[in-house]
Symmetry: C2
Subunit: 351 residues, 2 copies
DNA sequence: TTGTACGCGTTATCAT
DNA sequence: ATGATAACGCGTACAA
C-alpha cells in the first residue's frame, strides 16, 4: 500500500477557487482579511481534503524551525525524567517541538549535539549542562543565541538560568543537624568532574558549617565512587575513625545517588540511624508519582525537596520569553527546597 | 550582537567559481564526478566559510526529514531511560534525529503526538505504546508507514516489534519457585489499563503454574494500586489468609514497581523472605550503571534481567532496516531474560 | 477583498 | 566534467 498523495496549499487554493495567498492568510489567522464567503469555502475545502501545512516548508520560508534543543546531562537519572516532563509540557503546549538529547555527562558530546542542533536551526536551547567550565556555551550566548540553563550553572557568564537555592538548602540541612544535636558533619560527594552543582553544594557546606558550627570542615569532604561499594565503605570508615570519643556524627550527601550509597554503607557496617549516625540529602528523584526512594528503603531518610518538574517548566517558559524578547537582561530563577524531616536525623522527637 | 549571516550553497558556488550543482555533488559524496582541481577549490571554500547545508531545505527538497518519532509510554520509569539511551545511540550514529515524546500512559496523547509527528514528516516511528488495543497504529501500519513497536505489543496486527520473551521469563520464575519448594504462587499486578505487557505476563503466569504445578491459579491474581500502600497491604493479607496451614507462599510481581510495593508491604507486615514468603519479579530498572534496586534495598530480591538498552537499540536498528526495505515481512525480535537468583527466593542453599 | 510573482536552500533532470 | 533550470510548499511585498 502506498502513502496517499500529499495535499498542498495550492490544491486548497484551486479547489476553493481562490489564490494561495488567501489560503495562506486563512491558515495564519488573518481570517479578518477576507469575506465570510471565502473564509467558509476555504474552511470546508481544508477539512474535506484533510489539509495540513508543511512544517518543513514553513521553516524554510520563515527561517524558524519551531524546534527547541534540550540537552540533558544524564537521562538515566530519574531526576532528569521529571525535568523532561516539565519542559515537554510547556514547549508542546506552545507549539514547539523539543529535541531531547542525552549527553551522558560527556562534555564533548554536549558540544557536538549542540552544533548539530544549530545546523537544524533550532530556535533556542535548554541546557542541563555537563560542565561548569564551558566556553562553548558562553560563546553561543555572546552571539545572542537564546539559551536557558536548567539546574546546573556555567561559570564566568551571566546566563538565563533556572535552578535551586542550593545554598539555602545545604544551610538548612546544617542548621537542622545542629538543632538535633549532631556535633560533627561530613559531606559525601561523587567525583567533581565538572559538575557545577557539586561544587556549589560543597561550598555551601563549608560556609554553612563555618557559620553555624564555627569551624571549617575542610577535611570532612569525602569523594566516593558510587559504582564501588568498597570505596564508599572505606570512606565511611575513614570518617568514623576521625571522630572524637563523644562526637555525634552526621552525613550530608550531595544528591540522591550518593546519599543512597552512603545509606547502603551505613547498613552494611551495621550502624543505625540516627543513633549511631545521621544521614540526609537532596531528593532529586521526584519520579513515579511520589513513590520516592526514602519510602522505598523503608528506613526514612531526611531530604530536601527538589521541584524537578517545575525546574523544567520554568526553564522552558523563560526560554520562550527570551525568544520573544531577546534583549531582556538574563534572569536567574531560584526555586526553594523545603526540608522533609524523617527518622534518619530525628534525635529529638518533639521540637 | 547579531547572528552571523548564514552561508548557503550559492555562496560557496560563487566563491569557488563553480555552479551550485557541482557544489551539491561535492556535498553528497559524488566527488568522483569532478576534477580534482574543482574538488579542492570547493573543499577549501567550504572550510573557509564554515558552510553547513541546511537540513530544512534538504528535507523540503527530498521529502524526507531524517527525523524519527519516538513515543514513550512513560518516561518517568527508569526502564524508559534505558530504552531511550539505546534508541538515541543507534539513530544519531546513523544520521537521524530522534524526536522523543512522553505519553504519560495516555492513549489520546499518544495518538495526538503521532499525528503531529506525521505532519512533521518523520521518516518512521518507534512506539513504546500505551495501549494494546490500538486501531490508530494499525491503520498507520496498513498505510505502509514504517513503525516498530518496542517492549509492548499491539493486538490484532503483525507489527515489527522488539520485546522480551515474557512467557519464558515468567515460566522460569515459576519453575524456580517450584524447585525451591514454594507450594502456592500469587501474581501481583497494577491495574490493567491497556498495558499489553501486563496481560501477557498474567497469561504466562496462568499457563506456567498450570503446566508446572498442575492447577490454574485464577484466584491468585491480585490487582494493586501502587500509590496506595494500604491497598497493597490489604491484598497481601488477602493472599495470606487464603493459604492452607502448610502452604509455602511466593509472589511474582509484574514489574519492578509492583514488586517493590509488595516488598514494602511484606516488610510492613513483619514477614521475612524467603522463610515466610518468597518474592521475585522482572528487573526493568536497568539504570545508573548497575546500581539497581535489588541492591538498593539491601534485601536481595530475585529478578529476571531485562535488557532495556538493547531493546531500544534493536528497535532502532529494525526501523532503519524497514525504512530501507519497506516491503520485508514484519520481524518479531525477542530478547531473553535470564534469572538472577537472590535471597528472596532461595530456600535451598546448595542446588 | 484578492491575486501575482518571487524567494527561502536544496537537488534531480536534462543539457552541453 | 559541469551547468541551467525547475520544483519542493509556503509566506509576503507589491499590485490591483
Amino acid at each position: 500500500m502506498k502513502a496517499k498523495a500529499k495535499v498542498t496549499i495550492n490544491d486548497i487554493a484551486k479547489a476553493a477557487g481562490v489564490s494561495t495567498t488567501t489560503v495562506s492568510r486563512y491558515i495564519n489567522g488573518k481570517e479578518e482579511l477576507m469575506s465570510e464567503q471565502t473564509r467558509n469555502r476555504i474552511k470546508t475545502v481544508i477539512e474535506l481534503l484533510d489539509y495540513h501545512p508543511s512544517d518543513i516548508a514553513r521553516s524554510l520560508r520563515n527561517q524558524k524551525s519551531n524546534m527547541i534543543g534540550v540537552l540533558i546531562a544524564d537521562v538515566s537519572s530519574p531526576f532528569s525524567s521529571a525535568i523532561i516532563i516539565g519542559i515537554e509540557r510547556v514547549l508542546v503546549s506552545n507549539g514547539y517541538t523539543p529535541l531531547f538529547l542525552n549527553c551522558s555527562e560527556n562534555k564533548q558530546r554536549e558540544e557536538q549535539y549542540i552544533r548539530s542542533l544549530i545546523f537544524k536551526k533550532v530556535d533556542g536551547l535548554i541546557v542541563n549542562t555537563t560542565s561548569a567550565d564551558n566556553k562553548f556555551l558562553i560563546s553561543l550566548a555572546c552571539q545572542g543565541f537564546p539559551i536557558v540553563l536548567c539546574d546546573r550553572f556555567v561559570r564566568d557568564y551571566n546566563f538565563n538560568i533556572v535552578t535551586n537555592k542550593d545554598n539555602e538548602m545545604i544551610r538548612s540541612f546544617v542548621m537542622h543537624l545542629k538543632e538535633q544535636g549532631f556535633t560533627r558533619l561530613a559531606f559525601f560527594v561523587q567525583p567533581w568532574s565538572d559538575n557545577s552543582t557539586r561544587y556549589r553544594r560543597r561550598d555551601a557546606f563549608l560556609a554553612s558549617v563555618h557559620e553555624i558550627y564555627g569551624y571549617l570542615p575542610e577535611n570532612d569532604i569525602y569523594v566516593i565512587d558510587v559504582n564501588d561499594k568498597d570505596c564508599v565503605i572505606a570512606q565511611l570508615k575513614k570518617f568514623l575513625s576521625s571522630l572524637s570519643q563523644d562526637d555525634i556524627p552526621a552525613i550530608i550527601g550531595t544528591n540522591s545517588v550518593s546519599t543512597m550509597c552512603v545509606y547502603k554503607a551505613i547498613t552494611k557496617l551495621g550502624l543505625s540511624m540516627p543513633d549511631d549516625i545521621g544521614l540526609c540529602g537532596p531528593d532529586d528523584w521526584d519520579w513515579n508519582n511520589g513513590m520516592n526512594w526514602p519510602e522505598i528503603v523503608h528506613t526514612n531518610i531526611t531530604t530536601a525537596t527538589i521541584y524537578a518538574k517545575e525546574l523544567g517548566e520554568r526553564a522552558a517558559k523563560l526560554l520562550l520569553e527570551r525568544i520573544a524578547a531577546p534583549d531582556e537582561l538574563p534572569s536567574e530563577i531560584l526555586l526553594p527546597n523545603p526540608l522533609v524531616i524523617r527518622d534518619s536525623t530525628l534525635r529529638i522527637r518533639n521540637k
